[in-house]
Every structure is written in structure tokens, then in C-alpha cells.
């Protein structure tokens, strides 16, 4: 129990520090890194119950919803072309990733395919068993993808600002 409280404390401290030094979404990035750094070495893993995860998701949605205004929506027009460009681009990247995992890293085809689809972890883990891919491998690959993105993108945004 004490170790789990420590994990939460570290998350809060790293979140506050990252926020203070001005990293975009610093609270999230700091807490994520703090939690992960402790989790990977700790024997007592902190597993967030599904109800709390959903509550966090609902709070995120509520908070995001507060930022959406009539004025903002009025300015969102003609997103068809950006959506098509984004989709074609992401699918091309996914297929390239399948090739690299399958040909270079000699992953089984099922795992190469599922590890390369950039979508929700839960949907992919559910499908992993259906197509006989190892869910641990698929989940780990996606966790790395998310961490890679959450570490590099805020830094890049900070530089561009």
C-alpha cells in the first residue's frame, strides 16, 4: 500500500514540476513518466480499477467539452480533405511498420499487423486473441508507441512555440 501511495506521490510531483517548467500538457507527461519509471522497477504494481479509468476518461471528456464553443465549431469547415490526407498517411505508415516488423524483426504476421494499427489498446488487445497474436507483445508495442509520441511531441511543440 505504501509503495502505491509513493507511486501516486511521485506522479503528482513530476506532473506539477513538468507543468511548472512549461512542458505542453506537462501535468500529463510528467505524471506519466513518473508513474512509468517507478512501475517498471517496482514489485508492487499500481493497477487502476476500470471504474476509475472510466471516471478519468469522463473527466477528460467533460473538460475538453468545456473548451468547445459555437465560435470554434463555426470555424471548422471542410475537414474532408484533411481527414482523407490524415487517414491515407496513417494507413501508409501502418503498412510500412508491418513490413519492418515482419521482414526485419521477424515478428509473426499476426503480431506485425496488430502491433502496427494505431488505435485503442483495448480494441487491439481484444482482437489479438481472435487472430491468434500474442496480446502481451501487441500491448507492449502499443505502450511504447504511445510513450514515444507523448515524450517527443510535447518537446517538439515547445520548440515550435
Amino acid at each position: 500500500m505504501a509503495e502505491k501511495i509513493n507511486i501516486l506521490l511521485v506522479a503528482v510531483i513530476t506532473g506539477v514540476v513538468f507543468n511548472y517548467i512549461g512542458v505542453p500538457a506537462g501535468g500529463m507527461i510528467g505524471a506519466m513518466l513518473g508513474t512509468a519509471a517507478i512501475q517498471i522497477r517496482s514489485t508492487s504494481k499500481l493497477v487502476i480499477p476500470i471504474k476509475i479509468r472510466r471516471l478519468v476518461r469522463i473527466s477528460m471528456g467533460t473538460f475538453i467539452g468545456l473548451g468547445i464553443t459555437a465560435q470554434g465549431i463555426a470555424q471548422v469547415r471542410n475537414l474532408l480533405l484533411p481527414a482523407v490526407i490524415s487517414l491515407v498517411g496513417i494507413i501508409s505508415i501502418s503498412l510500412l511498420t508491418v513490413l519492418i516488423l515482419y521482414k526485419i524483426f521477424k515478428f509473426p504476421l499476426a503480431e506485425s499487423l496488430l502491433s502496427s494499427i494505431p488505435a485503442g489498446l483495448s480494441e487491439l488487445s481484444m482482437n489479438a486473441e481472435e487472430i491468434e497474436a500474442d496480446p502481451v507483445v501487441v500491448t507492449t508495442m502499443h505502450i511504447f508507441r504511445l510513450f514515444g509520441i507523448f515524450i517527443t511531441i510535447p518537446i517538439l511543440i515547445k520548440i515550435l512555440h
Binding site: 500529463m28 505524471a31 470554434g72 490526407i85 499487423l113 494499427i117
Partner: protein
């Protein structure tokens, strides 16, 4: 009195969010727990009335909570798996980041969408987290929201059946070869 009024409005806002999630769940919306509250709260704001201002402390709490949830996903990864998959996983992460940035640059050049909004719209991270990042970075949240949501659902809709088809083709080819030789 003012702070009590604010607190009440905040509670009403979160209750609206909760209600949105329940309705979205009932209607079988994708990402119901995220999309439901977004739709409910923004619809209320656009058509009825402004709810509450977004205070910095609330943003920080929600960001930290989201960070803890993502960070704890590492509980599923053992040190052995971590070491075994490190190289391919880093390669995938690198391709996704560079690929996402390339698509963002193309999007920026062709459509004129501002570069930070483009990056946050095309990078294949979690949709909720990318929108939170957009919100924190002062990007165009509405565009990021719509493009991330479309990307996530369409990728699942296209890539999952495509993956199953590729696997079935590969497996039936293997069976044919096995029958032929042996």
C-alpha cells in the same frame, strides 16, 4: 458565495459529462466515455448556456490523472518483455513519430492548417490525450478532436478487416503449400 456558486456549477458540469457518457454508451458510440461527455457538455454550452471557466488547477488535476492512467499501463510490461521488445518497439515508435510529422507537414502545406494543430491531428497517439495536449498547447482543439476521432475509428474500420484478410490469405497459402508438398 461566489466560490459556492462556482462549485455547484462545476458539479453540474461533471454530472452532465457523466450523463453524456451514459447516453453514448446506451447508443453504442465509439469511445463512449470520452466522446459522450464532450458532446453533452459542448452541446449544452453551444445551445443553452456557458457552464464554467476552465481553471488551471482543474486542468492540472485532469492531466495528472490521465498521466497516471497511461503510466500504470507499464504495470503490464515485465522487465523481460521490455528488454526483448525494446528494439522493435523503439523502431515502431520512431516510424510513427516521423510518419506522423511527415503527414502533418503535408497537411499543413496542402490545406494551410496551422502546423501545431496539424501535428496534433495526425500523430497517432491516444485520441483523448492528443486533444488534452492540443488544449494545453493552445492549438485548434475542435479540429484536433474531429480529425483524431475520424482517424481512430476509420483506421480500426479499415485496418482490422484488412489484417484479417491478409492473415487468411497467408494461412490458406500455407495450407495449399503443405498439401502440395506433403
Amino acid at each position: 458565495m461566489d466560490s459556492l456558486d462556482y462549485l455547484l456549477k462545476l458539479i453540474v458540469t461533471f454530472l452532465l459529462g457523466e450523463m453524456g457518457a451514459l447516453i453514448a454508451l446506451k447508443l453504442r458510440f465509439p469511445s463512449a466515455y470520452l466522446l459522450g461527455p464532450i458532446l453533452m457538455v459542448s452541446t449544452y454550452q453551444v445551445f443553452i448556456n456557458d457552464l464554467v471557466d476552465k481553471p488551471g488547477w482543474l486542468r492540472l488535476i485532469i492531466q495528472i490523472a490521465a498521466g497516471v492512467v497511461i503510466g500504470t499501463s507499464f504495470a503490464k510490461v515485465s522487465i523481460e518483455t521490455f528488454k526483448r521488445l525494446m528494439r522493435p518497439a523503439l523502431a515502431v515508435a520512431l516510424i510513427m513519430v516521423i510518419g506522423g510529422l511527415t503527414v502533418a507537414t503535408i497537411l499543413n502545406k496542402i490545406t494551410g492548417i496551422e502546423i501545431i494543430t496539424s501535428i496534433l491531428s495526425t500523430t497517432p497517439g491516444g485520441q483523448g490525450e492528443m486533444i488534452l495536449l492540443a488544449e494545453g498547447a493552445g492549438a485548434y482543439t475542435e479540429k484536433v478532436l474531429i480529425l483524431q476521432l475520424l482517424r481512430n475509428q476509420m483506421v480500426l474500420l479499415i485496418m482490422l478487416p484488412l489484417s484479417k484478410t491478409i492473415l487468411n490469405l497467408k494461412r490458406s497459402k500455407l495450407v495449399k503449400e503443405k498439401n502440395r508438398y506433403g
